[in-house]
């Protein structure tokens, strides 16, 4: 029987995921005042879910491989594997549909079509797969749910973590609901100047650098060409958050793989991994990213890749040191004794044990990635076609907003960056404390000034919290 909580999670998160994905690709040209009918039609328009074909091919492969492996090994969750197979089929058909262009099939093609239908189908089948996985592995599902619930209970008690989560939800909703908060037409300077009624509101045109007024689009004033700063601010949230999250994904995958491999293999392979990490650790991040961004062109996909491949060494080092600890544990020896291969041990024994660390670290890396994107965009290396908070600051700086002084153009993006970075930092430290029992103990022992003596006594019996800090890496 599937655990009750998991059933609730699947039933809530599957539709929520469909809505979120639809919102993130919602057509930009639907004006706000177009009415409910147009909004609903927007959700089923051809523009929704127009991902390039290779994305679906990759995701489809990611579903196909475990399905085939599971069926070949005759694993317990047979239906789950069959559902996964179906999922990969759906994705492959979608990839085929997307790739059909006039000149034959192309990997980067994104043909208009009922993408929304495929997307909804894929996510729904994914939900069904999770359901059957839980049916096939009841004890693991039970453990998973119980762990999740325990972590959430600990996390909830951490005020910093909850504040971070709250801030993040606000900005996440702003990013997702951007098409309903500000008309994208306001980001086109020509539309503003033309004044041909393509914008939906009757807001009078203000000159450049007009201070804030009470009219909605002028809450944050106007920028150097008379565009609404509020509209820029809202649409910027999308790029800033997306770049941060996707760059972190790349960086974490790279860092975790290199960290685990170089920690697990002690001999020359490990040495190579460590040297590589060392070299990348001493190469100053900003000059390297500047060189790459200057050479590789300027769109946000390139920025994501650049931040991803330059920010992994920190993760790799942390993961490596934890892998060194896990490698010496007894169950690894046991696994090796019964003839498990290196790949199996790393995936099934080392990874689950270092995973909490990777997770907490990932949340912190998001904060760094968002700051990195802001920095690159500020230096003028961002995507000139899409606004991000960094790009806004770049325009503000290069057009002399500080000398005017146009505080309404400088403050909003900066404060948003601080809040989002703080939110991720808070969440990262909260997860650190929740997932690492050692840290939790220290929190408790150093709780109040009055209990300091007690904490000292505890430190005598335990190894002492400061001992591992001794030598530099």
């Amino acid at each position: 029987m599937i655990p009750r909580r998991l059933r609730m999670w699947i039933l809530i998160w599957t539709p929520a995921l469909i809505v979120a994905l639809n919102l993130s690709t919602y057509p930009k040209e639907v004006p706000l005042s177009a009415g409910l009918e147009a909004v609903v039609r927007g959700f089923f328009s051809d523009v929704i879910a127009r991902y390039p074909a290779w994305v679906m091919l990759l995701v489809g492969l990611a579903a196909l491989v475990p399905a085939v492996l599971g069926l070949a090994r005759r694993s317990k969750a047979r239906t789950f594997n069959i559902v996964l197979l179906v999922l990969s089929l759906v994705l492959f058909v979608w990839a085929y549909r997307a790739g059909v262009t006039d000149e034959g099939w192309s990997l980067t093609g994104r043909t208009p079509g009922p993408g929304w239908l495929f997307q909804a189908l894929a996510v729904a089948v994914g939900g069904v797969a999770a359901w059957f996985w839980a049916l096939g592995n009841p004890e693991r599902a039970e453990l998973f749910v119980w762990n999740g619930h325990q972590i959430w209970k600990l996390y909830r008690a951490n005020w910093q973590g909850m504040v971070g989560l709250g801030i993040l939800i606000v900005f996440g909703l702003m990013a997702l609901l951007a098409p309903f908060l500000a008309d994208h037409g306001y980001l086109d300077p020509n539309a503003q100047i033309r004044g041909d009624g393509s914008l939906d509101s009757e807001v009078p045109l203000l000159g450049p650098y007009h201070p804030p007024t009470t009219a909605y689009y002028n809450w944050f004033g106007t920028d150097q060409v008379g565009q609404s700063v509020l509209a820029e601010f809202i649409w910027s949230a999308r790029i800033s958050l997306m770049v941060g999250l996707l760059a972190t994904l790349i960086s974490t995958l790279l860092g975790a793989a290199i960290g685990i491999a170089s920690g697990y293999y002690g001999s020359w392979q490990g040495e190579i991994g460590m040297r590589l990490t060392d070299v990348f650790l001493v190469i100053p991040w900003l000059p390297l990213a500047m060189v790459l961004a200057a050479a590789w062109g300027q769109n946000y996909w390139m920025i994501i890749v650049i931040i991803g491949i330059t920010s992994w060494p920190g993760t790799a080092r942390v993961v490596r040191s934890d892998t060194l600890r896990v490698r010496e544990l007894q169950f690894i020896e046991r696994a090796r004794a019964i003839g498990s291969g290196d790949g199996h041990i790393m995936a099934k024994h080392v990874l689950p044990n270092v995973f909490p660390l990777i997770f907490a670290n990932t949340v912190l890396v998001v904060a760094i990635a968002i700051l990195s994107e802001t920095t690159l965009s500020f230096l003028g290396l961002g995507d000139p076609l899409n606004f991000s908070w960094g790009t806004m600051l770049h325009y503000a700086w290069s057009n002399g907003a500080a000398g005017l002084p146009a505080w309404w153009y400088l403050l909003p993006p900066g404060i948003a960056i601080i809040l989002v970075v703080l939110a991720f930092t808070f969440m990262g430290t909260a997860f650190d404390e929740v997932l690492d029992p050692k840290l939790r103990k220290r929190e408790e022992s150093g709780d109040t000034a009055g209990r300091r003596e007690l904490g000292a006594a505890e430190a005598v019996t335990h190894a002492g919290p400061g001992t591992e800090k001794g030598a530099p890496a």
Binding site: R275, D278, V279, V282, I283, P284, W285, L286, P287, L288, M290, V291, A294, A295, W296, A367, L371, T374, T375, F378, L379, G380, L381, G390, L393, A396, W397, A401, A402, G403, L404, P405, W407, L410, P413, G414, I417, I418, V421, L422, T425, F426, R442, S445, G446, D447, T448, A449, A456, A457, E458, A459, V460, G464, P465, G466, K469, G470, A471, P472
Partner: protein, 322 residues
């Protein structure tokens, strides 16, 4: 460990990393898209003979392994080519920019470490007190704040509204001041950039110092010191702080290396004529020879700083010597 062996090991390590970083530098400017000979020349149409000549002077017509050897020869002899935005040798362009960066970064680091360590010690010692909560959370805000944004705010507040300080540069263009006047003028121009730079690091040093104080303040030696009947102040400043300084000193040392490249943002915002501004200008003009050298200097600075940190650590922490 034996002193000579320890140093030899650290120095060998640093040298190996320098070699690897320089090789990476070689590779980086060759995997960039486009013909490297064209990259090393100004933008716009160039006669084919000139491109050929450029290819010859930089040995780009030779096979890769020979290029690699020539690259090393050039690097060791300090030949980095001609900056094509200034039409002067890169070494010359770079060397006159080092001094302003050292002034800015040096002053900023001293101020940041001073303030950060001091506030961090009290926050760690009085953990969870009102002072700790306020100072640590503002430390987090400083840490999360983009440096350049804070710099812009400073310019807006102190230069535009209050008109106390200039908006940038090291001195007024055309002004020729001597002696004391020049020094006062420098201080006047430095205040905002140094403050901006310091604020960016105060948060980090505060957090590091705080966590290392909480890490050691319950150790055995602190308990012993208290048991001897020493006052809380003596325990803190004579016993806990020296021990907690160890990791902080290492991190400060290591940061000094990164600080050279971290100054890019402060220098860009304040138009401070240092290495960071040079890197930014080189990037906007696609001046690859200059970028290459700045990149190398910034990386070597980090390695040297790491080495110095290791050596200092040897003298500070007797446990390493044992």
């Amino acid at each position: 460990m034996d002193k000579r062996r320890y140093f030899a090991k650290k120095i060998a390590n640093a040298l190996l990393t320098v070699i690897l970083v320089a090789s990476f530098n070689f590779a980086l400017f060759r995997i960039l898209p486009g013909d490297p000979a064209r990259l090393l020349m100004p933008k716009g149409k160039q006669p084919p003979e000139a491109v050929e000549k450029q290819r010859k002077t930089f040995n780009l017509d030779k096979p890769m392994w020979q290029q690699f050897i020539y690259y090393w020869g050039d690097t060791i002899q300090g030949r980095f080519g001609i900056s094509f935005s200034e039409k002067r040798p890169v070494t010359e362009v770079v060397s006159e920019r080092i001094w302003p960066t050292v002034v800015l970064v040096g002053t900023g680091t001293i101020i940041a470490t001073g303030i950060g360590i001091f506030t961090g010690v009290f926050a760690g010692w009085r953990r969870n007190s009102k002072y700790d909560v306020i100072s640590t959370n503002s430390g987090m805000v400083f840490y999360a704040m983009p440096t350049f944004w804070f710099g812009l705010l400073m310019i807006m507040l102190f230069s535009t509204y209050l008109r106390w300080f200039p908006t940038g540069r090291m001195s007024e263009p055309g002004a020729d001041l001597q002696g004391m006047e020049a020094f006062v003028d420098l201080i006047w121009h430095m205040t905002l950039p140094v403050f901006t730079f310091a604020i960016a690091w105060v948060g980090e040093y505060h957090l590091i110092m705080r966590s290392s104080i909480t890490g050691v303040m319950n150790d055995d030696f602190a308990l012993t010191a208290r048991a001897k009947g020493l006052s809380e102040n003596t325990v803190l400043w004579r016993h806990v702080v020296p021990n907690a300084m160890l990791p902080t000193v290492t991190i400060v040392m290591m940061n000094i290396g990164f600080v050279l490249s971290g100054a890019i943002l402060t220098e860009t915002v304040f138009n401070w004529p240092g290495l960071g501004l040079l890197a930014y200008e080189a990037m906007t003009k696609r001046d690859y020879p200059v970028m290459q050298m700045v990149f190398l200097i910034a990386s070597v600075a980090v390695i040297v700083a790491n080495l110095i940190a290791d050596i200092t650590y040897y003298y500070l922490d007797p446990r390493v010597q044992a």
